[in-house]
Symmetry: C2
Subunit: 205 residues, 2 copies
DNA sequence: GTCTATACGCTGATAGAC
DNA sequence: GTCTATCAGCGTATAGAC
């Protein structure tokens, strides 16, 4: 009798991601994770050892696949307009559908990011370098202005992840749920045209 | 004998802002705050009652003055270019000089923002409405394109606060400290020109 | 008004039964 | 392999000395 490992472990991982994402490492408790997983709390310790080991497992699981959208869209084979549109849409969809994963990452960085330091200095840094090449190619083709790749990416990450991490602020200001089409439109408007109407003036006058 | 209230209370507030900002509400401990304030932990409880009361006091203290920069720069008396430049510079300076205050706010929102719900639905919402009028005036003058005010503000807040809240990620990717001039340049580039070079093409061809 | 000593609940972790 | 019962330590809060 009893719930077998194959069922228990993924269930714990899923609930842990949700609870760690909502409350952070310190704010989450093992009893809460166990209760949400419908398991005795000792089982969670049996499968993962310590709270921190569970946290690391959940975090690694979250990071894998974190960069897939960028690789898919920010490629020289696409036009800048097409690539940026696709990437922003994908990042915003992630913020909408996996808000807890985004919050988990935000909590970890706010705490200092010790557990993801290696990931940030190796995988993510190389990732940004690679995207920088694409951005340089797009600029060379005249599809975008020349940009500072890391700072450009910081802006995109900030704007898109904001909709997952700061959701309570957004719904409070809007007095209702976020309209992701408007969010997409605003971000793309900034990336593709800026807020200066000078181009329109130049063509209409 | 002993440290008087006039010295102790502001010192506790200051250290509490730093520690709550770094670790969040759950991650911070009263002993840590007391030790950082060089006071017996009982004194902190004597002056503020409970941990949550101290937290609320620190949070309110942080929120006052949070919106002053916007009122100063996002005004119809300025040009859009001048106003946006000043506002972005001010917000980035705040992220650099008061990172702990920014992180405190981020932690609070990540946790659901219960303690700032009234502030968000009254003060901040009215604030955005007011800015919306300025943005509409700027658009009417042809200084910016028409924008969706709240979503436009979300983008600005996201991009500027990112440099305070996600600092570990930034330094890891850059392999060094952030260059605030480049950050300013990137954000202003997006706001004022976008990344599309079409305007330049239109004028040079 | 300021500080020392202490109570007590909650949490992470484990020993050992089934 | 799964789960029940229990422990040890930390963290908030307070009673009471100075």
């Amino acid at each position: 009798m009893g719930i077998p490992r194959e069922i228990a472990v993924p269930r714990i991982m899923s609930e842990a991601e949700r609870i760690f994402g909502r409350h952070g490492f310190a704010g989450a408790s093992m009893v809460e994770i166990a209760r949400a997983s419908q398991l005795p709390k000792a089982n969670v310790h049996y499968y993962f050892g310590t709270k921190e080991a569970l946290y690391r497992a959940v975090l690694e699981n979250t990071l894998s696949g974190w960069l897939a959208d960028a690789r898919h869209w920010l490629s020289p084979h696409r036009t800048a307009s097409e690539g940026l549109r696709g990437y922003i849409a994908a990042k915003l969809a992630f913020s909408r559908d996996h808000a807890d994963a985004s919050k988990l990452f935000a909590h970890e960085i706010l705490r200092g990011g010790e557990h993801v330091h290696t990931y940030l200095t190796t995988t993510l840094r190389m990732h940004v370098d690679l995207i920088g090449e694409t951005l340089a190619i797009w600029a060379g083709r005249g599809e975008i202005r020349a940009v500072d790749p890391p700072y450009f990416m910081f802006s995109i990450w900030a704007m898109t992840q904001f909709y997952a991490d700061m959701n309570p602020q957004i719904t409070a200001v809007l007095n209702g749920e976020v309209d992701f089409d408007r969010a997409t439109g605003t971000i793309l408007g900034l990336l593709l045209h800026g807020e200066s109407p000078e181009r329109l003036d130049a063509t209409s006058k």
